[in-house]
């Protein structure tokens, strides 16, 4: 029994998720007319997006330089 996703699969998934989160958070924050009506913690959403982005970059670096 092993986890069926490989390292490149997880890297790709992280990249797609990062784009969705960052685009969503930027759209929400940059629309002050609608922003107060959307009841979510926008700062946290942006932080999660940034965190995923950093994780994605780390996976890319690890794939580019496997000796690290």
């Amino acid at each position: 029994m092993i986890f069926p996703l490989s390292f490149p699969d997880i890297s790709l998934w992280l990249g797609a998720t990062t784009i969705i989160l960052l685009v969503t958070s930027e759209l929400i924050i940059s629309l002050p007319e609608y922003s107060p009506r959307i009841l979510i913690n926008k700062t946290m959403l942006r932080a999660i997006g940034a965190g995923c982005g950093i994780a994605f970059i780390i996976t890319v670096i690890l794939r580019l330089f496997p000796f690290i």
């Binding site: 009506r37 913690n41 700062t43």
Partner: protein
């Protein structure tokens, strides 16, 4: 519009369902060695956790309201100001405070009229309302000539500045109905100054209902300052300034009703032509 607490409850339910199904899916993917199930499980678990983390901030902030320290600290900070206002207004036979509209943001005026940009309350010395002159307001006068009344700085000016900063849009560009829709969420979510706040506009009257405000002790029938009922607590005062700015007309606090413990405050604003 959904209230912060209801939205937070919905976020909790969605987050829990996503996370549970995600973990089950990951388990099954390992058991059946299925990539599709693994991706579904990973996605569901991740978005479940995101739902937990991005719960409405206002709901979490209202936890502060349950602590006795936070409201008492805020009220004690403004109490001396209301005590001073009590001393001033006791000398007058006034029944209402009138919020004079300011000049629209961005208006270019000569130097001697710059005082018109600051929100101001007019407290007449008599029961009848006679609009103070533009010169008196622009010169920043306190006591008007011939004992007509006094001009005061609204107690909610500080909060008003914070709201303007937070909203980042020109408040004077919004209609009264738009303000009634947007402003309660800003006060509840970004400032957590009350547990619930609703505004409804009808012709020349705007009704405000505040539940469990942090300033509720100002409306105490025995110990509370009288000026709080006359001019409003900082929340009521800031909203009156915004309404005056939006309508371009004078706003009066027509009626103030508060429950004995102050948990429910009902305010009736009147647009004075």
């Amino acid at each position: 519009l959904a209230k912060p607490k209801a939205a937070a409850d919905l976020s909790l339910v969605i987050g829990a369902v996503f996370t549970i199904f995600g973990i089950v899916s990951i388990d099954l993917s390992i058991f059946y060695a299925s990539q599709i199930l693994a991706l579904i499980g990973l996605g569901l678990t991740f978005w479940g956790v995101v739902f937990f983390l991005t719960m409405p901030k206002g709901y979490l902030d209202t936890l502060l309201l349950t602590s006795a320290v936070y409201p008492e600290y805020l009220t004690s900070a403004v109490y001396p100001e209301y005590s001073t206002l009590d001393r001033i207004t006791n000398c007058l036979e006034c029944e209402k405070g009138y919020y004079i509209p300011t000049l629209p943001i961005g208006t270019v005026v000569p130097g001697y009229l710059k005082g018109l940009k600051d929100p101001v309350i007019f407290v007449p010395a008599e029961a009848d309302f006679h609009m103070p002159s533009v010169e008196d307001i622009s010169q920043g006068k306190f006591l008007l000539e011939k004992g007509k009344g006094i001009l005061l700085t609204p107690p909610g000016l500080g909060l008003l500045k914070q709201i303007e900063k937070k909203m980042k849009v020109k408040l004077n560009g919004l209609s009264i109905n738009e303000i009634c829709e947007v402003l309660p969420n800003v006060i509840l979510e970004d400032f957590a100054l009350a547990k619930d706040l609703t505004m409804t506009a009808e012709a020349k009257h705007i009704h405000l209902s505040v539940q469990n405000s942090v300033y509720k002790s100002l409306y105490d029938p025995e110990d509370g300052p009288k000026s709080a009922r006359l001019l409003g607590c900082p929340i009521v005062s800031a909203i009156a300034c915004i309404l005056a700015q939006a309508s371009g007309k004078t706003i009066a606090l027509a009626e103030t009703n508060a429950s004995l413990d102050g948990s429910t405050i009902e305010i009736e604003y009147q647009i004075v032509s």
